[in-house]
């Protein structure tokens, strides 16, 4: 699954940084029908976990009320240089992952 994450490449220690992620996904509600009139089964990204150097900093449980191609924005304190890791899974069990590196100075 394609995703775009936005994390500043550099930050000062202690700085609050914005983190954004947009994942390409239909977030199928389960209430729609295909052209043959067959119901399209529900398939949404139901959870997203974000860790910073291995420690959880943000977690989301999502439902069909979240728009297609889910976009999330939150913040975190830049504590140390390292990696932010984003992991998500949809109702079909398909997993996705994205990483972003950050250099913390000062």
């Amino acid at each position: 699954m394609d995703a775009r994450v936005q994390v500043p490449k550099q930050a000062r220690r202690g700085e609050v940084i914005d983190v954004r992620i947009a994942i390409k996904h239909p977030m199928e509600t389960g209430f729609r029908y295909d052209v043959m009139g067959k119901p399209i089964p529900k398939n949404v990204i139901n959870s997203l976990l974000v860790t910073y150097n291995g420690a959880e900093i943000f977690r989301a449980e999502l439902g069909s009320g979240i728009a297609a191609n889910p976009y999330l924005q939150f913040s975190t304190v830049a504590e140390a240089s390292g990696e932010l890791r984003f992991e998500w899974v949809d109702d079909n069990g398909t997993r996705g992952e994205e990483r972003a590196r950050i250099t913390v100075t000062g």
């Binding site: 209430f31 304190v77 504590e79």
Partner: protein, 152 residues
């Protein structure tokens, strides 16, 4: 006979119209269709109004994707922070839209996303703080083109 518009009344009316959008969003009344779900979320703890700011357009042309932002008044320290933010919709077939878990490492208690809204309705944001209290804000959103979540 010439129609007369008393100047004072006209001015008062205009002033009233200008002030209207500044009125606070309607109180998050625990009654209504969301009451059982709210009870489940808070575990029966009182849901207080305040500390939460919900930014969402009052008029959404398209219910498929409505941007919203939630900000909670909190120091975001290890002893005083926001644990979670829950988004509820009054008229979606599945009213629970999302739960976001955050902690003191967030630095700032603010999240943004885009939601689907099945028609004109009230949207509610509930924040759980580290002391176990629940706070909320709500906003009425008029949706001209619904997200068509309903079956059929």
């Amino acid at each position: 006979m010439k129609t007369r518009y008393p100047r004072r009344r006209v001015i008062a009316t205009l002033a009233g119209l200008a002030a209207a959008p500044l009125l606070p969003a309607r109180a998050a009344s625990p009654a209504g269709p969301l009451a059982p779900l709210i009870e489940k979320i808070t575990g029966g703890a009182p849901l207080q109004e305040g500390r939460v700011r919900l930014e969402i357009p009052r008029l959404a042309d398209n219910g498929h994707s409505v941007p919203l932002k939630v900000a909670v008044k909190s120091a975001m320290t290890s002893s005083d922070h926001v644990r979670s933010i829950t988004l509820l919709s009054e008229r979606n077939p599945r009213p629970l839209m999302a739960i976001f878990h955050l902690g003191p490492r967030a630095g700032r208690s603010e999240i943004a996303t885009r939601v689907r809204l099945n028609g004109t309705q009230r949207v509610l944001a509930i924040a759980q703080l580290s002391d176990g209290s629940y706070w909320s804000a709500s906003a009425e959103v008029e949706v001209t083109e619904s997200a068509c979540l309903d079956a059929g």
